[in-house]
């Protein structure tokens, strides 16, 4: 049970996301070979290494600055469109983080929601376009619908579930963005790897906090 979390817990959540991507990068690349050029897992691995290095190199940094630094490091990691997208997400987290050192459910929702909004501005994709947004936007909706004083483990579990369902739904979509759009109907039956990465990141947020 956790009604509030502090800044260290947010770092724990981010480390949880790093670890779950590290454990699944080969699966992500396999998914990508069906709809893209097969390197999404490698890109995500490189992205998460940038996150981890930033965390390790800045142990005493205030969370707001740390999140911004993570965003910039991700963008510097040369990840095609993944870099600017996930980089924007972390920069948005930095902008949305409330002043208070303790976050309740509403505060965490505001923070994550700001990250999603910032990334959405870069992506311009909507639900149904077979991109990362298919996992992110349902997660955002789920978080916003929750009560302000919800238990944070429950909140993150609900967000992860919404993201997972969103990623699953991409199986039935044709792509409107990126390399997969050239494949037309040939991508039907395959999940969008970016949306799966997002659902893993939310699951990583949830599990790391629960185990903490």
């Amino acid at each position: 049970m956790a009604q509030t979390i502090n800044h260290n817990d947010v770092v724990t959540m981010i480390r949880g996301a790093v670890n779950i991507i590290k454990d699944n990068h080969e699966m992500l690349s396999k998914l990508d070979s069906a709809t893209g050029d097969g390197d999404h897992g490698t890109t995500m691995l490189r992205t998460m290494q940038a996150v981890e290095n930033t965390l390790n190199e800045n142990p005493d940094e205030a969370l707001k600055e740390l999140l911004y630094k993570i965003g910039w490091a991700i963008m510097s990691s040369d990840g095609g469109s993944t870099g600017p997208l996930l980089g924007s997400f972390f920069m948005g987290l930095s902008e949305g983080l409330p002043e208070a050192t303790e976050l309740n459910g509403a505060g965490l929702t505001d923070t994550i929601s700001a990250g999603i909004d910032k990334m959405h501005k870069q992506s311009r994709a909507q639900i149904g376009d077979k991109t990362m947004m298919d996992a992110l936007l349902p997660a955002q909706t789920a978080m916003k619908a929750a009560a302000a004083d919800i238990d944070i483990n429950v909140l993150l579990d609900q967000a992860a579930q919404a993201a997972e369902e969103g990623a699953k739904a991409t199986e039935n979509m044709t792509a409107k963005f990126g390399r997969a759009r050239n494949l037309g109907d040939r991508v039907l039956g395959h999940k969008d790897p970016g949306s799966v990465s997002i659902s893993l990141i939310f699951r990583g947020f949830h599990e790391s906090l629960e185990q903490n």
Binding site: S33, T42, I74, S77
Partner: protein, 333 residues
């Protein structure tokens, strides 16, 4: 099939290839700040600078065209992946000058996203920069919106033409106008015969049965207009040239630049035979090939196939194309 390539650690491909590139071509280019390929002798600050960006794995593109009379900086990403906005911003800052910067971007999702973010940041800092987006792929059809048309080998002649205009001391607005004129009158169509492996993952980019080819295949194995039975050189040339001529509305008396860009595993022998077929076809229409190049400019690893490029030329474009230039993989004297 297992990947057969002369590589070391697959995570280290880009820095290692750049190191070798500098050993081979250090008289013309240099590497700065790890991922910026710059001219060995910088251009005079009074002249407009040319900057481009793109993933590695397409050698000699894009960095092979950094040099006198061509590009000033190529921002290199990782294999098939765009460089991030911070690196692009660094290049724009490095080239910041009163004359301005022409920023040439190929239409691929990652490149465009990175370029847009870097442009936004650069403009906030007061850097004078104009962007040109190449989008000459006609595989999805010529009526398809620009966002859905990829930038292929057409960036290379555009670097040469814009670079010559910059070297001649023209203003950013003039260079932009010339470049857009060329950009809006060019078209590329690709064809693939055999797949390639992604050098980071070792996986096949796509699969094609032994007796099939695919017209419209992109630079990373993105699908084209669907596989067809293999045609011979003359028929392939005719089918592709017909679509390209229609795309740029080439008519009797028009003068064209024709480039055949080998994808990596198609021989010069084949490309010459195809070019002959292109000429035969254009002759029947009264369209002249006023200049042509055959070779490997922008490759896709060991993919078999090529990109066929047409552009309508006028005297000014031709003069700029033929002006002196000296880069590792394109030299005009």
């Amino acid at each position: 099939m297992k990947m057969k390539k002369f590589i070391n650690d697959p995570m280290n491909l880009t820095p290692e290839l750049l190191e070798g590139f500098e050993i081979a071509c250090g008289d013309k280019m240099a590497i700065q700040s790890e991922k910026l390929v710059v001219r060995a002798t910088p251009k005079d600050e009074s002249k407009v600078a040319l900057v481009t960006l793109g993933g590695a794995g397409h050698e000699p593109a894009l960095s092979g065209f950094v040099g006198e009379g061509l590009l000033d900086v190529s921002v290199v990403g990782d294999i098939f992946a765009a460089p991030g906005p911070p690196k692009v911003l660094e290049a724009l800052r490095m080239m910041n000058r009163e004359a301005g910067i022409l920023f040439i971007v190929l239409n691929h999702a990652g490149d465009v996203m990175s370029a847009n973010m870097a442009m936004e940041m650069a403009e906030k800092e007061g850097i004078k920069v104009k962007m040109i987006l190449t989008h000459e792929d006609i595989a999805p059809g010529i009526d398809t919106p620009i966002e859905d048309r990829r930038g292929l080998v057409g960036c290379v002649p555009l670097y040469k033409i814009a670079g010559a205009a910059a070297e001649a001391g023209k203003s950013l607005d003039e260079i932009y106008e010339i470049s857009e004129r060329f950009n809006n009158n060019m078209a590329t169509l690709a064809v693939a015969m055999n797949s390639a492996t992604h050098p980071s993952t070792g996986d096949c980019l796509f699969e094609l049965p032994d007796d099939e080819m695919e017209i419209g295949m992109g630079q990373h194995g993105e699908a084209g207009t669907g596989p067809t039975k293999i045609l011979n050189a003359d028929d392939t040339a005719k089918v592709m040239a017909d679509r390209l001529a229609a795309a740029i509305d080439a008519k009797e008396g028009d003068r064209l630049m024709v480039i055949l860009n080998g994808a990596g595993a198609t021989t010069l022998m084949e490309l010459f035979i195809v070019l002959r077929g292109v000429k035969k076809f254009l002759d029947t229409k009264g369209i002249e090939i006023v200049t042509s190049r055959v070779g490997e400019f922008l490759t896709v690893q060991e993919m078999a196939g090529f990109q066929m490029f047409f552009a309508k030329m006028d005297n000014e474009l031709l003069d700029l194309w033929n002006a002196p230039g000296d880069s590792p993989y394109m030299t005009v004297r």
